[in-house]
């Protein structure tokens, strides 16, 4: 039941975009780039659910393992998204990366890209950097909130293949799930305890 709802929440926005009339006027590489972004966005709903151990059959510890793999998947999707857009229109992507694009959503996309890369780097180097668990948790959580919020803003400002209602719903669900897991895991409360 929970799985059915989660699968629907993840798949409906992607499927709805599949019916976009814009697709008929786009070449495969542009379509792939767009859907890499949409799937990556959808996975940002899955990530907090995994981290919180909310999904049946995936309690917290097992959920974290999957969370790591999904995180790696998001990094790959970002590369595919930006790479595919680059092949479609190089100057537009160069403008975006240099923060001189005329489109207001580009700056959010680029910011989120760097935050995702930073999150991945931090996850990989966590042990080597000898980060304390609480420091790691705070840093990872702060990055995650910015990434989910920035991705949502990036998406809703775009007139693209995503269907409007499912786009806003996905944004709300992803943000809601992120806030819920932060609340449930008492990440900020734990921080206050630790700093005392």
């Amino acid at each position: 039941m929970i799985w059915a709802a989660v699968c629907a929440a993840l798949l409906v926005p992607v499927a709805a975009a599949g019916f976009s009339p814009l697709l008929q006027w786009r070449q495969p590489v542009y379509i792939v780039a767009g859907f890499a972004g949409i799937v990556g966005f959808a996975l940002m709903l899955l990530q907090p659910l995994l981290a919180g151990g909310y999904l049946p059959g995936l309690p917290a510890l097992k959920g974290r393992r999957v969370h790591r793999w999904v995180g790696a998947g998001i990094v790959a999707l970002v590369v595919l998204h930006v790479g595919g857009l680059w092949l479609t229109s190089p100057p537009d992507v160069v403008d975006a990366l240099l923060l001189r694009s005329p489109t207001p959503f580009s700056v959010w996309g680029v910011l989120v890209m760097w935050l995702i890369f930073a999150t991945a780097a931090l996850a990989v180097l966590r042990k080597r950097l000898g980060m304390r668990p609480m420091t790691w948790r705070r840093a990872h959580t702060a990055l995650a909130v910015l990434i989910v919020a920035g991705t949502g803003l990036h998406a809703v400002l775009i007139q693209g293949t995503m269907e409007t209602l499912s786009k806003y719903a996905l944004f709300a669900l992803a943000l809601g799930a992120t806030v819920k897991v932060i609340w449930d895991l008492r990440i900020w409360a734990a921080r206050r305890r630790a700093s005392r």
């Binding site: 006027w25 542009y30 479609t88 229109s89 100057p91 403008d95 005329p102 489109t103 007139q159 693209g160």
Partner: protein, 186 residues
């Protein structure tokens, strides 16, 4: 500083008839500067030519030159048409219409991507500085339904500076765009 003033002025109602002259003048300038309401600007400019003395130069828009193809052919229309791109080319300052100026336009349309050569075409302005191009319907790409236009000094002997525009349609269902070039002598 000037930007702030422009924004404020553009928000003020300017079509309230024969009201304060100074307010209307600011409005005209702001409209030209933003380029977004070029059609309105043209209308007022033609009916009151004496006020054309303050025509501000049209600046190149960010991203305007993206996927430009220098020297695209002059064509009757681009592809199968259906979308109307119009505009006016004038001299900055006195607002004199510029005839025979070569304007290139391109966009992501129902018939091709911005980078496709067949998505590009050029035309010349008439004696009133007007140009019209029939081109395929523009569809949203890279997040906005937008077109591109270029006045390229390299392909024109008239001695004006190059300007690239990137107008955005207010809705993807729009079937026309109108722009204004106020060119600065080189």
């Amino acid at each position: 500083m000037a930007h702030g003033a422009h924004v404020v002025a553009a928000c003020a109602p300017d079509l309230t008839g024969e009201t304060d002259m100074s307010i209307r003048l600011i409005n005209r300038r702001s409209l030209i500067a933003t380029g977004g309401a070029a059609a309105l600007t043209l209308g007022t400019g033609l009916t009151v030519p004496a006020r054309a003395a303050g025509v501000q130069p049209t600046p190149t828009m960010p991203g305007g030159a993206n996927n430009y193809r220098p020297g695209a052919q002059i064509v009757e229309r681009i592809g199968n048409g259906g979308f109307t791109m119009t505009g006016t080319v004038r001299r900055a300052g006195d607002g004199a219409p510029l005839e025979g100026r070569r304007i290139q336009m391109w966009a992501h349309t129902t018939e091709g991507h911005e980078r496709d050569p067949e998505s590009h075409g050029a035309t010349l302005t008439d004696r009133n500085g007007r140009f019209v191009m029939d081109m395929p319907q523009i569809v949203p790409a890279f997040g906005q339904p937008h077109g591109h236009l270029a006045y390229d000094a390299e392909y024109d002997d008239g001695g004006f500076k190059t300007v690239f525009l990137r107008p955005v349609m207010s809705s993807p269902s729009e079937t026309s765009l109108d722009v204004e070039f106020a060119l600065v002598p080189a």
